[in-house]
Symmetry: C2
Subunit: 271 residues, 2 copies
């Protein structure tokens, strides 16, 4: 196998499965290539992607060792992406009755989903997250995209109880918008032992839903590492969860339009 | 920029965004590299990935021309993946009351989701699909993974009506399992004009849900290109939809266990 082929194959294997450890020892056997050559190839890929701000290639040693790829987005591209989204979502025809903002099209757009997944995963990398938790329905696509870049499973909290979830744990909470008592349930088998969970959702106003998920996860003895939402309202300023990250912040929803602002991102690639 | 760097950057750009056209003219300017060199690089990537059965690099000419990547899975790996899933899902502890099979863990596993997305997209490539439609809740993760590899948006049919969807079209149908009248609704803005839809869902017994989605999509004047499900039951053999593809087929669900068989795949990479 020529060097050019190895670079192509290695790049594909790394970027297609973010955070999945690739064993060079195993590849060295499968491809019949000296491990030292593969290590040099990996170094070239690491340098090239780092310079382009397109992700971090990390090598860990030891029995569980291997090469892993952290997905990245160049900071100028990320800012451009969020500015573009903020502009698009600020249009008056997005305002729905009750001061909601229409998001279903962007939450179904494959490029938006993938980029949001990258950006959120970048904010929570190396925090030992082993499950992404969301609430049906609108947050699921975002949560799945984030879980892909964090290489962890996704668990979906349901508002009803279905036989298909197997045994569940249920809790109740008072909805922030309707002030009614709601039920949440989560399949017992979907949360790993010693779970470190990232909550992902589409929209946060007061944070009642996110706090309810936190309470539900306590029943699983899980640690909540953080909450990431696609869009949060600026009012109320005090949310019911402490630690949350919002990609977009929305001010003043009215029939004249919406004012949406992009978040400040942590630049892990130059951090 | 050296050739090795170009191969790495091009491979990443192609595989990270399946079916997104990459303009070599644009890259030639941005990277200050002769377009002929980039074309040679693309030819090397095409050959390498084709030989490894890891996707197809396609070049189209003309004003809208560019280079696109069709995600692939080597056939032996695909068969191994489906055999492994069938084995895992055949265990007696998967059987739920009512002869349902517990699937939530696999439908939340990032590797399963990505591989299923690849396999389903491979079966429906080049069919002009411009939207993937699913029904909340369990099918959403699969549908999103498939939509990513087809590079099309996902639209989610809901069983309730929410203000956040904007104007919706609703239809009614009789559920296959409960025999009760159910409502389905879909946001008017989520289906493009001249839609060619692929329906993706987790489970099919008689096909009542899939047929209901077909009927709902008729109200949008959409063409249904096909229906893909993760798992279908062998009984009843006659389903309420004509054209469907199931990755796994389940026979004889009982307390002793389940018998799950993998599907036969179309090998587009050697077709």
């Amino acid at each position: 196998m020529q060097r050019s082929e190895r670079l192509i194959r290695l790049t594909q294997l790394l970027v297609e499965r973010p955070l999945q450890a690739l064993s060079l020892a195993h590849l060295s056997e499968a491809w019949d290539i000296a491990k030292s050559s593969l290590s040099e190839d990996v170094a070239t890929i690491r340098k090239t992607l780092a310079e382009a701000q397109r992700g971090i290639v990390e090598t860990s040693v030891g029995a569980q060792g291997g090469v892993r790829f952290h997905s990245g987005v160049p900071m100028d591209e990320a800012r451009q992406f969020l500015d573009g989204l903020a502009h698009k979502l600020s249009k008056p025809d997005r305002v729905l009755p009750g001061d909601f903002v229409y998001l279903s099209d962007v939450l179904g757009d494959p490029h938006v989903l993938d980029t949001v997944g990258r950006l959120v995963s970048m904010q929570y990398t190396n925090k030992g997250i082993n499950v992404v938790v969301t609430v049906e329905t609108k947050g699921i696509t975002l949560a799945a995209a984030t879980a892909r870049h964090l290489n962890v499973p996704i668990a979906i909290v349901r508002r009803d109880q279905r036989v298909t979830e197997g045994p569940t744990i249920s809790t109740h909470y008072v909805s922030g918008s309707t002030r009614r008592i709601q039920t949440m349930s989560l399949g017992k088998r979907t949360i790993p032992p010693d779970a470190r969970a990232l909550i992902v959702d589409d929209f946060m106003r007061a944070g009642a839903t996110a706090r309810a998920v936190e309470h539900l996860l306590k029943e699983f003895s899980a640690t909540v590492v953080g909450t990431a939402v696609f869009m949060a309202t600026s009012q109320p300023t005090h949310k019911m969860v402490n630690d949350y990250f919002a990609l977009l912040r929305v001010h003043e929803v009215s029939e004249q339009g919406v004012h949406v602002e992009p978040a400040t991102l942590i630049d892990i690639q130059n951090g």
